[in-house]
Amino acid sequence: MFARTIALAVAIANLAAFDGAVAQTANQPPDTMAARVEACTPCHGNQGEGTSDVYFPRLAGKPAGYLYNQLLAFKNGRRKYPPMNYLLEFLPDPYLQQMADYFADQHPPLPPVAASDASKEVLQHGQSLVSRGDPQRQIPACGSCHGPALTGMEPGIPGLLGLRPNYISAQLGAWRYGTRTAKAPDCMQQVAARLTEEDVTAVAAWLASRPAPVTVAPAPKGTYVLPFACGSEPD
């Protein structure tokens, strides 16, 4: 009995000492990127997987170079969205690079594909533009830059899967109206300018209807040659 009491007392003492140690570190936030990017999570999800808001994109697994370009563009006002411009305005570039690396390294599963309310004709038009483009109107196939599996290419070209139709059409619209711009030559601005409203709706609907491929990782740099120059993907 006495021995058990001693043992218990020692255990309690140990526990108290352990508590003290935890309290020491518990006085500071975790020294991790996850804790530092908590400001991003209400809109983009804990691992950058996206949230129920259809206008906020998935960040996880996108090429780090692409994410860094977007963070810089928001910081400098080249890409306009006041809540993002405000958050990033006074953060150093190397820190933005670390944020980009962090979300590029996250690999939560792609969300299940939501049922599309687009008609068969619209989806067919979207499929045709995504896979073949429209040479007569100088519209390249999406896959010619974003990869045959539409998973993007390191360092600067994002994948197009796991995004919702509203987000895709909002971004294509932003390029057409100049609220989203990228380094010259601004290839996406050139392509988006050739699209009609119907094209945008169709492309967004088709892309959002695609199931996740086996590998969602972007292709390594230089896997294929781009059809034209793009400021976001230097040679």
């Binding site: 936030p29 908590e38 400001a39 999570t41 809109c43 006002g77 006074f90 150093p92 670390q98």
Partner: protein, 417 residues
């Protein structure tokens, strides 16, 4: 490579130009004057207005919305056609000290000459020497876009009569050298009074209201009083907490956010330890404990208590994981909310905006990877925002007043940048 060579050629030309310049004017003290001028230009935060986003440094063109229309800052690089390349040191002094262009024309008081007038001639000349040493940028100034009648520069005369008193800083012999150095920096180059003093409908600040706090026009952030310990008065802060806040953007008492993040990012983080300490000593010195008015609220008591009880639920769910169940935070990175003047002060604008918009303190040399606060505008209703802000303003001994859902709603449309 083909596209590189013209750039290389330009570089070589620039290089050749500057070394020829150096040979013409051997000046053993020149470098140190220029370096001092660069330091002082940082203290004056010239870059914040005179550089546009992604623009060349000091080439101007930054849009500055004011209640009277939009002003565009000017090119202060030494370009002879579009900058200040033809100005003399005397011209520059006249601009800083009197707010006049070389031809005698009047500057709009967005240029803080009412503060810069306190800067010594030697310091003004050092800043000029520095500005003359930077690469010239050929970029024409953009016309201001002011509404009638503010487009009439003669109106500035009236403003100057009311609010401008010219004169270099006069040290107070009853105070220490350190206090006076701090006063010189805060009242002069730091131009802190531009935001931290109430601004009236004419865009002016009366002397008697200096540093008493006010809502910053167009930005809808409240610049708290620097003299009242009920607001941002630093009377009961330790000198270390003040210098930490100014130099790194975070401290054990709170962090900087909103427009003050810009000031720390572009200016204060570059000041040396002595100057930062001098500012801290002065700021601590001017703070006066003001009698705390009883927390007053326009809300009926029953509504307040409902709000506060909903507020605790919201707080425990969304806020307590970082700010602690007792509002103790994990300073300096996760600021405490208990006994935090920024939360308790009369104006609830800043706490409401922080909940709505979140924010990062500035990245600084002392804190290059700051922790950020998530924006809750999309997650919480007006009622929940009002509730949680009411809760943090009244819990743990805090002496603020509850806020209404209408106040929260109105700030949803406040400009973000």
């Amino acid at each position: 490579m083909r596209s590189c060579s013209p750039i290389l050629a330009v570089w070589l030309l620039l290089f050749a130009g500057s070394s020829a310049e150096a040979q013409r004017k051997p000046d053993p003290d020149g470098d140190s004057v220029v370096a001092r001028g660069e330091y002082l230009a940082r203290a004056g935060d010239c870059i914040a207005c005179h550089t546009a986003p992604e623009g060349r440094t000091f080439s101007g063109g930054r849009a500055m919305p004011t209640p009277f229309g939009t002003l565009y800052s000017s090119n202060i690089t030494p370009d002879r056609d579009t900058g200040i390349g033809k100005w003399t040191a005397e011209d520059f002094y006249k601009a800083m000290h009197y707010g006049r262009f070389p031809d005698g024309g009047l500057m709009y008081p967005a240029m803080p000459f009412a503060s810069y007038t306190k800067v010594t001639r030697a310091d003004t000349e050092a800043i000029f020497a520095y500005l003359k040493s930077i690469p010239p940028v050929n970029q024409r100034n953009r016309e201001h876009d002011l509404r009638f009648p503010y487009s009439n520069r003669q109106l500035i005369l009236g403003w100057r009569t009311l609010y401008f008193s010219e004169g270099e800083f006069k040290p107070d012999p009853t105070k220490s050298a350190e206090w006076n150095r701090g006063a010189y920096l805060v009242e002069g180059l730091g131009h802190c009074g531009m935001c931290h003093s109430p601004i009236n409908a004419l865009g002016g600040t009366s002397q008697s209201d200096a540093f008493k706090g006010g809502l910053i026009p167009m930005q809808n952030w409240y610049a708290p009083s620097l003299t009242s310990n009920r607001e941002a008065g630093l009377g009961d802060w330790s000198i270390k907490d003040i210098t930490d806040l100014l130099q790194t953007g975070v401290s054990m008492r709170g962090v900087v956010y909103g427009p003050m993040a810009e000031v720390v990012h572009n200016s204060l983080q570059y000041l040396n330890d002595d100057d930062t300490r001098a500012m801290a000593v002065y700021l601590k010195g001017i703070a006066e404990p003001s009698p705390s008015p009883p927390a007053s609220s326009t809300l009926p008591t029953s509504e307040s208590s409902l709000l506060i009880s909903l507020g605790k639920t919201v707080y425990d769910k969304h806020c307590a994981s970082c700010h602690g169940t007792q509002g103790e935070g994990k300073p300096p990175h996760w600021p405490p909310l208990a006994n935090n003047q920024s939360i308790e002060m009369q104006s609830a604008v800043n706490p409401i905006r922080m909940v709505l918009n979140g924010g990062y303190p500035p990245g600084t040399n002392g804190n290059p990877m700051p922790y950020g606060m998530p924006p809750f505008a999309g997650l919480l209703s007006d009622n929940e925002i009002a509730a949680v802000v009411s809760y943090i303003r009244t819990a743990w001994g805090n002496r603020g007043a509850p806020v209404s859902a209408r106040e929260a709603n109105e700030l949803r449309s406040a400009p973000l940048n």
